[in-house]
C-alpha cells in the first residue's frame, strides 16, 4: 500500500517537474529592460520594443528596417514583436489594459488612431515635433489628418493606402480594348467593361471586367462629390441621402447588374480581388499598392492607371494609412522618438519599405525618389500613384472614436443590402441615414 501511494506521489512530483522544466527561456520585454541595466558598462544600449502585424515576408522587411536603424544608431536596440494581423489589436489592447509599462511596446503600428488616442494610451507627438522641427509638409495632402485627434498629432502614417486601377494587359490586348489612362471617365470604363466581360451561354460569367471590394464604394461616392457625413471630424448628420451619392451607388449597382463588376460577396468567396485578378476571372481591379509585390512575384503582365472619374467629377483617393505611434506608457520616449523620426524619413525606414515594393510611401519625397518611381519593377505607370496621391482627400473614414462602430453597424450592412438588391438604392440610403442620424444624436454629436 505504501508503494502505491509512493507511485501516486511520484506522479505529482513528475507533474511539478514538468512544469518547472518550462522555466523562462526567452527574454521578455521586461527582461530586456532589466537586461540593459545588467550590462557591464553603465552606458549600454537602450532597448525599445516595436510591435506590428505582418506575414513572414513583411516581418522580414520590418526586421531589415530595424537592422538598418541599429547600424546607424548602435546606442538604441530595437526589438521586434510581430503578431498575426487577425488578433493583433486584441493583444495590444490586452497589454494596454494590464497597465504594465514593461509589456507594452514603445512604438506600435496602429489604425485607426482616434479610438486609441481618445483612450489616452497614445503619446501626443506635438511637443516632440515642435522640439525637433520634424517636417510634416512632406506628407501627402490630408494624410496627417488620419493620425490627428482633437488637433494633435498622435502618429505618422507609414503609407497612403490609395487605390489605382490595375489592369491585365494580356486580356486588354486579346479583346482589343485601349489601355485606361488619365482621360478615362465612368463612361469609358463602362464601354471597356462591356467588351471585357464574357458571359457563357449558360448565363455564368466566366470573366467580369472589374473586381472591387464592397468597402471601397465610397471612392465612387466621393468622386461624384458625395460624402458619408457632413463633417468627417465632428459630424452633425448623415450625408448619404444626397442625390450625388445615389447616383454613384447606382453606377456601381448597374455595373454589377450588367455583369461588368463581380459582386463583392462573390469576390470574397473566390478568394479576394488579388486571386481573381491573377486567375483572369476579372480584367481590372481597384486596389492599393499592397498587391504589387504579389503580382510581380507571380510574373503577371499588368499595369496601373488612375481610377476613372465621372464627367465633372474629381479624383478622390482616400488619405489614410496605418500609422506608427508611441505608447504613452513608454519608459524610453527619447529613444522611441529618435526611432520614429528615422522610420519616417526618406533616408531611413520609408526608403526600405518602398524598396520592398509593398507600399506607396507616406512621404512625397520618398514616392518621387527612384526607390519608388524607378524601382525597375512593374507596374510601369507608377505616376498614377503620384497623381492620385496629389489629389488625396479626407473623408473615406471618420476621424472620431465612434466611427468604427458607426460604419460597422449601419453603413456597411446597409451598403451590402443595396448591393445584393434587397432594397433599392434610394430606400437603402435613406434607411442608413435614419440609423446614422439616430446614432449621432444618441452619442451627443456634434460635439
Amino acid at each position: 500500500m505504501q508503494i502505491r501511494q509512493w507511485q501516486v506521489l511520484s506522479i505529482l512530483v513528475l507533474a511539478a517537474l514538468l512544469l518547472s522544466a518550462c522555466a523562462p527561456v526567452a527574454p521578455s520585454a521586461s527582461d530586456a529592460d532589466s537586461g540593459a541595466a545588467e550590462m557591464p558598462a553603465d552606458e549600454g544600449p537602450v532597448t525599445i520594443t516595436w510591435a506590428m502585424w505582418g506575414s513572414p515576408a513583411e516581418v522580414a522587411t520590418h526586421q531589415s528596417v530595424a537592422d538598418a536603424f541599429m547600424e546607424e544608431r548602435p546606442e538604441i536596440q530595437v526589438e521586434i514583436a510581430a503578431e498575426p494581423w487577425g488578433d493583433y489589436f486584441t493583444k495590444i489592447r490586452t497589454l494596454w489594459a494590464s497597465g504594465d509599462a514593461s509589456v507594452v511596446p514603445d512604438v506600435l503600428f496602429l489604425s485607426p488612431i482616434q479610438s486609441y488616442a481618445s483612450e489616452g494610451v497614445l503619446e501626443n507627438l506635438d511637443p516632440w515635433i515642435d522640439k525637433s522641427g520634424y517636417n510634416l509638409d512632406d506628407y501627402w495632402p490630408s494624410l496627417m489628418e488620419f493620425a490627428t485627434h482633437e488637433g494633435s498629432v498622435y502618429g505618422f502614417p507609414r503609407d497612403i493606402g490609395l487605390e489605382v486601377l490595375y489592369y491585365n494587359i494580356d486580356i486588354f490586348d486579346e479583346v482589343g480594348v485601349p489601355y485606361p489612362d488619365e482621360s478615362w471617365t465612368w463612361n469609358d470604363l463602362l464601354a471597356a467593361a462591356e467588351q471585357l466581360t464574357v458571359v457563357e451561354d449558360s448565363g455564368r460569367v466566366s470573366r467580369y471586367a472589374l473586381g472591387m471590394e464592397g468597402g471601397k464604394f465610397m471612392l465612387w461616392v466621393m468622386q461624384n462629390g458625395g460624402a458619408p457625413l457632413d463633417d468627417m471630424r465632428n459630424p452633425s448628420r448623415c450625408a448619404l441621402a444626397e442625390p450625388k451619392v445615389a447616383e454613384a451607388m447606382q453606377f456601381f449597382k448597374d455595373m454589377m447588374d450588367n455583369n461588368y463588376a463581380m459582386p463583392p460577396a462573390n469576390l470574397n468567396q473566390a478568394g479576394g480581388d488579388a486571386a481573381v485578378f491573377q486567375s483572369g476571372q476579372v480584367a481590372m481591379i481597384i486596389q492599393n499598392a499592397s498587391r504589387v509585390s504579389a503580382f510581380n512575384a507571380a510574373g503577371m503582365n499588368y499595369d496601373v492607371a488612375v481610377v476613372p472619374i465621372p464627367d465633372g467629377g474629381q479624383r478622390a483617393a482616400g488619405a489614410g494609412g496605418a500609422s506608427w505611434v508611441m505608447s504613452a506608457l513608454s519608459d524610453n520616449k527619447e529613444e522611441a522618438w529618435t526611432f520614429l523620426q528615422w522610420l519616417q524619413s526618406t533616408d531611413g525606414g520609408q526608403r526600405i519599405y518602398t524598396a520592398s515594393g509593398e507600399i506607396l510611401p507616406a512621404l512625397q519625397s520618398t514616392a518621387r525618389s527612384d526607390a519608388f518611381l524607378n524601382s525597375g519593377q512593374p507596374p510601369v505607370n507608377r505616376q498614377a500613384f503620384i497623381i492620385e496621391g496629389e489629389n488625396a482627400k479626407i473623408g473615406r473614414t471618420g476621424y472620431f472614436a465612434e466611427w468604427s462602430e458607426l460604419n460597422g453597424s449601419f453603413i456597411s450592412p446597409g451598403r451590402d443590402q443595396i448591393f445584393t438588391g434587397e432594397v433599392s438604392v434610394e430606400d437603402g440610403l435613406a434607411a442608413i441615414c435614419e440609423q446614422v442620424d439616430a446614432f449621432l444624436a444618441e452619442n451627443g454629436f456634434p460635439k
Binding site: A15, S28, T94
Partner: protein
C-alpha cells in the same frame, strides 16, 4: 433508413445494407473532402488555388510549399512548443480534474453539492471576460512569455471535472467500500479502483483536452511574445495578412499541424470505441 425495422426478411436486409453503405460512403466523402481540399491546396501554386472550375488534383504538384512554410518561420520550434504545451496541459488537466471529480463524487463533506455548483457556474463565464484579469495575474507572477503562462491557467477545467464526476458516480460505490474495508486510503481508491475503471472517459477527455490545447490561439497569442514560446496556431495565423493570405503555405502548415492530432485520435479512438461497447454491455 435507420428507423426502418428488419421485418421483411433477408432480401430486404441486403437492400437496406446497400443503402446504409451508400449513406456511409456519402458521409465519409463529405467528411473527408475538406481534408482532401486542404491537402490539394497545400500542393498547388498560388494562381491555381482559386481557378474555376475548381480542380482537386494539383498540377504541377508543388512540394516546395512545404519547404517554404517550414522556412518562413521557426516551424520546428513552434511544433515542439505546441507538443510540449499540449502534452503538459493534457496530463495536468486529467490529473487535477480526476482528483477533484473524485472528491466531488465520492468523498462526503458538508457543502459538497453547493461547492460543485459554484465550480460548475464558472463554465458560464466566457473566456473573453477573464482574459484581461488572467493576463494581469500572469504579469504579476512574472510569467509573461513563459510556458507557465501557457500551461498553468489551462491545467484546470470545470468541464473536465464535470465530465469525470458524472462518470465516477456511475461506478458502483460497493467497489470503494470493499477497498476501504481492506484498508485502502482515498488516494489509493482513486488510483486503484476509480481510475482503472474510467478508461473510456479518460480517453475521450484526452482527445478533448489535447485538441483544445493544440488548437488554442488567442491565449497563446496574448501571453507569448517571442518565437521561443510561440505555438503552431499563432505561427500559422501570420500567413493571413491584412491584404493577402498565403493559402498554399497556410494549408501546408495546417497539414503538418494536423498530424499529431490525427495520431492522438487514432491511438485514443481504440479505447474510445472499446469504452462505448463496454458501457453498452454494462447496461449503463
Amino acid at each position: 433508413m435507420t428507423t426502418r425495422t428488419a421485418v421483411d426478411g433477408r432480401a430486404a436486409f441486403d437492400a437496406r445494407n446497400l443503402l446504409i453503405h451508400a449513406a456511409l460512403i456519402f458521409g465519409s466523402v463529405v467528411m473527408l473532402l475538406p481534408f482532401g481540399w486542404m491537402l490539394a491546396t497545400s500542393l498547388k501554386a498560388p494562381p491555381q488555388i482559386f481557378t474555376y472550375p475548381p480542380t482537386l488534383i494539383p498540377n504541377p504538384v508543388v512540394w516546395q510549399n512545404y519547404v517554404d512554410t517550414v522556412r518562413a518561420m521557426p516551424f520546428g520550434r513552434f511544433y515542439l512548443n505546441s507538443l510540449f504545451v499540449a502534452v503538459s496541459v493534457t496530463t495536468l488537466q486529467i490529473l487535477t480534474a480526476s482528483l477533484s471529480a473524485f472528491a466531488f463524487a465520492r468523498l462526503r463533506y458538508r457543502g459538497r453539492e453547493a461547492l460543485f455548483l459554484v465550480y460548475l457556474a464558472t463554465l458560464m463565464i466566457p473566456f473573453q471576460v477573464t482574459m484581461i484579469p488572467n493576463f494581469i495575474l500572469i504579469r504579476y507572477l512574472r510569467w509573461y512569455d513563459t510556458f507557465y503562462a501557457l500551461i498553468v491557467p489551462t491545467a484546470f477545467s470545470a468541464f473536465a471535472v464535470f465530465l469525470l464526476r458524472q462518470y465516477f458516480r456511475g461506478i458502483p460505490v460497493e467497489l470503494d467500500e470493499a477497498a476501504r474495508m481492506d484498508g485502502a486510503s482515498s488516494l489509493r481508491i482513486w488510483a486503484r479502483v476509480i481510475m482503472p475503471l474510467s478508461g473510456p472517459v479518460l480517453a475521450a477527455l484526452t482527445i478533448f483536452v489535447f485538441l483544445g490545447s493544440w488548437n488554442d490561439f488567442l491565449w497563446p497569442l496574448v501571453v507569448t511574445n517571442s518565437n521561443a514560446t510561440r505555438t503552431i496556431p499563432v505561427g500559422l495565423a501570420s500567413f493571413q495578412g491584412q491584404f493577402n493570405t498565403d493559402w498554399h503555405l497556410l494549408m501546408a502548415g495546417s497539414v503538418i499541424a494536423l498530424l499529431p492530432v490525427l495520431l492522438v485520435y487514432i491511438l485514443a479512438q481504440k479505447r474510445f470505441v472499446e469504452g462505448i461497447t463496454l458501457s453498452g454491455m454494462g447496461g449503463r
